[in-house]
Amino acid sequence: MSLTRRAFGAGICGCVLAALARRGFAQARPVEPGRTYIAPGYRPPADSDEKGLWSLLDRVERERKTSRFLVRDVELNAYVREIVCRLAKDHCPDIRGYILRTAQFNASMAPNGMMEVWTGLLLRCNDEAQLAAILGHELGHYLRQHTLERWRDARNKSDFGAFLGLGLAVAGLGAVGQLADLALVASMFAFSRDQEREADEIGLDLITQAGYTPVAAAEVWEQFIAEYQAGTAERSRQLLFATHPEPEERLVALREAAAKRDGARGERGRSRYLAKLAGVRARLIADELALRQYGRTEIVFDRLLAQSPDDGQLWHAKGEVYRLRAGDGDAARALKAYETALGTGNAPPETWRSIMLVELGAGARDRAQAAFDAYLKQKPGAPDADALRMLLSQ
């Protein structure tokens, strides 16, 4: 259990990957037809165990509000809120969304109504329908009070201590960087296989009712599996794919369920999605590159490029994957991507800086100098001009 949890703690995923954390917890229990949801405006009774859980999460939420990782872009926050409300309807006032600048693919939902959306998820969604599919799934956990159910269930078992002692659980993860992922830890512990399945079904219902394309849920999961398989994190991959057939099962279930709901019909909201993301997208791309997970990132960028082949920023970013990986043939791959970026007419000035670095690495000093000149021409006050001059002079 703790090993599994640790693999997660490496910052991969709360809900989407909760398949990993669920091992050992899973219990067969049929999903009930005719579900009842938590009442709109619900508050736990005073002096209840649930109230205690909420108080803890309220405290986590207060810290979220001051987090320096919080994305405060007003328009983007309003947009995510709009999608949440479109899905959650009467429950909308009970949900508070927080966009966190974290490059991994994840969203999570706490029982007190605190929803977290990581920027890695925003980068990876092709359109509004895909984001809505993930948010709908998270809302499913909330509407059915899954965390509370899981918590009460865990209390009757020996692993209760590990769950209740949230602070200890987090300390047990043993790394500086994971302290802020408290809610994530809470949600990871919370969901069983049946709960995930139920959240998938509710999510599908919510997006269908809201008029989104039902098959978006299967797509986003499929994209994630493809990306994950391209990763180098052997340990996580083993856990997810070798010992656990569920991701594929889940994909099949989502596809079948979408087909029953007239899967491909409905709204995509692609251009709106890209427009709302425009203000933060450069940062999300830079954050993705900072992870140095070349194989996974290449898949993400290629997928986005297939949909936006004229995006110079993305072509530059794709070149950066190769330049930074610096393996056999990568210099040529990088240059090709930069060239394509320049051909779009909307490449960032840094494309020239990147070309300079690749040419310099290949010993082509004249071309490096020319690229440097082009960089300075496009970005006259470039803060790294002196540093680059130093390279050229050495």
Partner: protein
């Protein structure tokens, strides 16, 4: 009431103190990793069980959560600068690695990525890269800034040099403002005293 972050930070400090072991470094000439000779001007603590793996030696003044001085003692082609201990076993992606033919800009990018991964953030940047003579030869220096997942902003400075395809250097970083700026003169003194010895001098 103590905010959660403080409680956890305190717990973490306890943990860090519980795990890490220190030996005193006295203010006299020391050899680090058998290859870098330096003359500290004050007492440091060498962390004998650092939370990182790699060709590094780690010192601290106020504890690893507040400031660290990481010596790079001859990182070779294909090796990461350092990784969190047992990173691979915990399911992390393969770390970015040092290449002998990297230029200073690329070393700066590599340290950014390495530090970002260690502090579980993507908010890490180097700046003000300049040439600087190190240990009687050509070297370079740049500043670092990062925001760790613990919400602590850290400032730092890196100096380094590549000799015979290996990276030698030192990165001092600490929580702003107190735990970095205050000791910057000591770091600079230490760097100016640096000599490459042993295998690195050949």
């Amino acid at each position: 009431m103590m905010p959660m972050r403080s409680i956890l930070a305190a717990a973490l400090l306890l943990l860090a103190a519980g795990c890490a072991q220190f030996t005193l470094v006295t203010p006299e000439r020391q050899t680090v990793g058998g290859v870098i000779s330096v003359a500290p001007g004050t007492k440091w603590n060498k962390i004998t069980t650092p939370g990182v793996e790699g060709k590094v030696e780690v010192w601290t003044l106020d504890g690893p959560a507040l400031n660290t001085l990481v010596f790079f003692t001859g990182v070779t082609d294909g090796e990461p600068l350092f990784t969190r201990r047992a990173a691979a076993a915990s399911g992390e992606e393969k770390p970015p690695v040092f290449r002998s033919k990297m230029n200073p800009v690329e070393i700066q990018e590599l340290l950014e990525a390495t530090a970002a991964r260690y502090f579980r953030t993507t908010i890490a940047e180097g700046r003000n890269l300049k040439a600087e003579p190190i240990a009687g030869g050509r070297g370079f220096r740049f500043e670092t800034r990062l925001l760790g997942r613990d919400e602590v902003e850290r400032a730092g400075v890196f100096v380094g040099t590549i000799r015979n395809g290996k990276l030698y250097g030192a990165w001092f970083q600490g929580a702003k403002l107190h735990y970095f700026e205050r000791y910057l003169p000591e770091f600079d003194r230490l760097v100016s005293s640096a000599e490459l010895v042993g295998e690195a001098a050949r």
